[in-house]
Every structure is written in C-alpha cells, then in structure tokens.
C-alpha cells in the first residue's frame, strides 16, 4: 500500500501537477480520458529526439540500429507486462481504436451471412461502430449483452445469446463511463465453449490492473499507452499467434512486406505484417518506459490506493442531496459517473473547471449507456494513483458550490 509520503514523492514525478488552472492549483480527475506523464517518460521522449532519432528496421547505420534496438526492447517490455508467450504477438498500433479496427477489418474474410458478433451494452463508440461496419460488409448480425440499473452485464442473457453462430465476442474489460469491471473470465470461457473468439478492450482496465493474457486465454487484447502514463498515438494489439497468422494485414506499406514485385507481394512475418509504414518509434519506446514506471510502483499498490480514493470520494459525494451515481457494480475501478438532480452535467463541469478541477462531462462516447439511463450525460471523475484525498475534498466542495449556483 502506498503511504502519504509515497504519494508526495509520486506527485513530484509529474510536473504538470504543479500548474494552476483559473488561478487554482490543478486537480486532475480526468484520468480515464488520458493519464498524465511522469518526468521519466518525458525524458525518454526528449532523449530519443536528442540522441538517436532514426528510422527503424532498415538502416545499417548506428543510429538506426540504436533506435531499432530501443523499439524492440519496448515491445519486449509490453510482452512481459501482459505476460504474452511471444514478443511478436504484441502489435504496436496507434492506439486502442486502431487495434480494434485491425481485428474488425481482418474478420471480414472469416464471416458470412448468419454469423453473429456479440458486444456489450456498455461499450464505447469505438467498440460499436467497427462491428456495425463489419456486419454491413459481411451480413453478420450484432447481438448486445444488456446491463442492469447498477451497470452490471447480465450473464444469464449472455449465455442465451451464445450459439454456434457466434464467431466473435467483444467486451470492454472495464467500462469507461461506469467503471464496471466485467466478468471476463466467465465471458471468455463461455465464448470458447461455442468456438467463438474473444477480443477484450483493456483501455480502461490497464491503468488499474495488470492483465495476464495467457492466464485469461483471451484471443485478442487491446490497450492504449496514453492511459498508462505514456504518450498519445501508441497502443497495443495482443493476439494469439495462430489468430494473428490467420488474420490478413490491415494496411499495405513499407515494413510489412517480404518480397514485392508488380505481380505479387508476400508479407512479412509477425509482428511486421500489421505494422506498415514508419511507426511511432519514440512513442513506442516511451510506452515501454511508462510501463516500467508503473510496474516499479506495483499494480497491487496502485489498485489498493485507488480503491481507497474511490471509496472516500463515493462516500463524500453521496452526502450531496440529489446526487446519483451511475455504475454501482461491486467490482469497479476508480471512476465515478454522476448527476445531481436535474442539473445538466455540462453546467457542473463548467463551474468545477472554474474552481480548478478537471472532470469529464458529456456522454463519454457511450451514448447507448446514456440512452439506457435516459440522461443527456454525466459528470465523470476518474482518479489515478497520484491523486489525493485532499483533492477529493476540494472537488466535493466545488460540486457543492456548483449545485448551489445552479439550483
């Protein structure tokens, strides 16, 4: 467990936490949108461009070799972090959305009319649209696992939806709007029993826990670096080797080829088959450094401390009259989505921003969830391990002030 002394030390690692917003010290509670960046990661980015910026996998010169080595070391770190069997099962992408699209596009050749894809009712738009497009291309249909008022997926309905027609099940490991941790072990086991593949979106889970893709036996797992203290524009697609070999390439270009003639091109092996063009080299390297930073802190420590923040904030917020929290699963990450009475979330977000607190307002790219609760959106506060209880106190006071002004 992280002590208060540790937290102060950790906060010193994040230069942005020293700045002010609207004349008030910044309180950053929009971590589910993107996390802040520790100095070691910033240093790695500066070092890359200062010392060894070069294109990778092709040059014979020293700089290119150094950059290639650093990039491949980063891939190894990503592999170890997710405990994948092979480093070439880790495709470095531009982010979670890109990674999902690689799989969704690739599945076009595997699906036919009558096949089914199952998604959950608590998906981010990026997790709905690619599957709708896939269904349009192939004639497959989309089934949805419904959720309860508490924001928990109904596993009994899920079991009924599964059949021999199910080819792919796609759920987020953790919901971005509600924070619910979904029962992925059960979902994977039942999907495999009917021969369906499972793709998990780990964008919201990975900042809080460390998934073991082998233990989970999951077919695909995707995540973004920028939610893990890394830079934007980098993510990862984990795929089991046999799946990645079957899946056709997503984009054509340099780095993904073996032989090219005008008659025929043969593709490179894994992971390069899916990494056409010059990748975000610096970003990939910085992603590796960010994972080192988080692993040094320890995910168990992070989770325990964030749980403490979540419980503390939940209790304090609930004391505000008329406040309703959306997403009250027993298993949830440090995310609180809420509204107060009929006050529009945008109004609360605007006032608390004036008081120096950054929260997200709106539908969180999850309109179906908002439709389910019949609300225009929510205010979402999401915590990270560098936040404190004192910040939560200030935030709760800010919400109270906003409510006073707005009602």
């Amino acid at each position: 467990m992280l002590s208060m002394i540790d937290i102060q030390k950790i906060r010193a690692d994040f230069p942005i936490l020293n700045r002010e917003v609207n004349g008030k010290p910044l309180i950053y509670f929009d971590n589910a949108a993107t996390s802040q960046t520790p100095q070691v990661v910033i240093d790695a980015i500066v070092e890359y461009y200062t010392v060894y910026n070069a294109n990778i996998h092709r040059g014979v010169h020293t700089l290119s070799q150094e950059a290639t080595d650093a990039y491949e070391v980063a891939r190894k770190k990503v592999q170890q972090h997710f405990n994948a069997k092979h480093d070439y099962e880790m495709i470095l992408t531009a982010g979670t959305t890109h990674a999902i699209n690689i799989v969704a596009t690739g599945f076009t050749s595997f699906l036919k009319e009558g096949d089914e894809i199952i998604v959950s009712a608590m998906e981010h738009h990026s997790n709905i649209v690619p599957w709708q497009m896939l269904c349009e291309r192939t004639g497959a249909s989309l089934k949805v696992i419904p959720m309860t008022e508490q924001g928990v997926l109904m596993m009994d309905v899920y079991e009924e939806l599964l059949s021999k027609k199910t080819k792919l099940v796609f759920v987020n490991h953790v919901s971005n709007a509600l924070g619910t941790v979904n029962p992925i072990e059960f979902i994977i086991e039942k999907a495999h029993a009917v021969g369906a593949a499972v793709l998990l979106d780990g964008a919201q889970a990975t900042p809080h826990l460390k998934p073991d893709v082998q233990a989970l036996d999951v077919d695909f797992y995707v995540a973004s670096a920028h939610k893990l203290c890394g830079p934007t524009g980098v993510g990862v697609l984990y795929g089991k080797e046999e799946w990645l070999n079957k899946l056709p390439p997503y984009q054509g270009g340099g780095d993904m080829i073996d032989q090219v003639t005008f008659e025929k091109t043969t593709y490179a092996g894994l992971p390069f088959k899916f990494e056409a063009g010059t990748p975000n080299i610096c970003g990939g390297i910085a992603f590796g450094v960010a994972l080192d930073y988080l692993n040094d802190l320890g995910f168990e420590n992070i989770a325990a401390y964030e749980k403490e923040l979540l419980d503390y904030a939940t209790k304090a917020l609930k004391e505000i009259e008329g406040l309703r929290i959306y997403g009250e699963a027993d298993e949830k990450t440090a995310v609180i989505s809420f509204n107060v009475g009929n006050i529009h979330p945008y109004d609360i977000g605007t006032i608390v921003d004036k008081l120096g607190v950054a929260v997200r307002t709106g539908h969180h790219c999850a309109q179906p969830i908002m439709d389910f609760f019949k609300i225009p959106g929510t205010v979402r506060a999401s915590f990270a391990f560098y936040n404190t209880k004192e910040e939560i106190d200030t935030f709760v006071e800010a919400v109270k002030k906003a409510v006073m002004m707005l009602s």
Partner: protein, 140 residues
C-alpha cells in the same frame, strides 16, 4: 437601441461584478429571462450542433426585424444564448450579419469563444447570423 448600444449595456452590467462567480450567477439569472422557443419549434432540425448541451433556436421576421426565441437543457448555456438574443432580437438582419462580437470578451466570457470549446458559443453566433443572412435575402 442598436446592437452596439445593447452590447455596451450588457458589458456595463457585467462590470458591476468583480469575480467570475458573480458573473456566472448573473448570466444564469439572464437565462431565466430568455424568450422561450415555442414547443413546436423544439425539433432536432433547430438544435445547434457542436454543443454538449442541447440548444434550440428559432427566428421570426416581423416587418424588417428579426426576433429570436431559444431554449437549452443546460442553465449556463441558456444564459449564454440569452445574452446573444438580447443583443440581436428586434434588429435588422443586415445589422445582425455585420455585428461585431467583441463584447463577449469584455464580459469575461472569452474562454467560451474558443471554437473547440464544447459549449458551442461560436456555433450559436454562427447559427444566429445564418438566420440573419437567410432573412436578409428574403427581404431583398
């Protein structure tokens, strides 16, 4: 009064407050006086895109004067649109088209003017001016 005179009047009202909280509270008050849009015009077509909250606007031409009514599901947004409508309603479309909007800056709402800001103040101004352009053509 001309648009410029109304804008100056609004600016002087806001100058009475020294902190942002009072200014916001006043803006919320102004929202309460907003000439409300008739329910029949509260359609998806009349929603201004680019706002996190919903804003509906309707325009009516009376003689050579353009009158606006509006509503929003968010209180602050309602205040913002009320300020704009107060400056524009009852004016000639041509004057609305040509109106300078610097007064927004002067009443301390400059941060709302950024085109990427999700409240859509810029979209609101654009929509009101579009109505003016449309009716100006009709007048000709």
């Amino acid at each position: 009064m001309s648009i410029k005179e109304i804008q100056d009047e609004i600016v002087s009202e806001f100058e009475m407050f020294d902190d942002w909280m009072q200014r916001y509270e006043y803006m919320i008050e102004l929202g309460k006086d907003l000439p409300l849009i008739d329910e029949q015009y509260k359609t998806d077509d009349n929603i201004i895109k680019g706002c996190q909250s919903k804003v509906w606007v309707h325009a009516d031409l009376e003689g050579e004067q353009l009158n606006f009514t509006a509503d929003s599901d968010a209180i602050i947004t309602k205040g913002i649109i009320a300020i704009l409508i107060r400056a524009f309603s009852g004016q000639h479309p041509k004057d609305i088209m040509e109106a300078d909007m610097n007064f927004i800056d002067e009443i301390g709402l400059k941060e709302h003017l950024s085109p990427t800001r999700a409240n859509g103040l810029v979209s609101m101004i654009k929509q009101l001016k579009l109505y003016a352009v449309a009716y100006q053509t009709q007048l000709k």
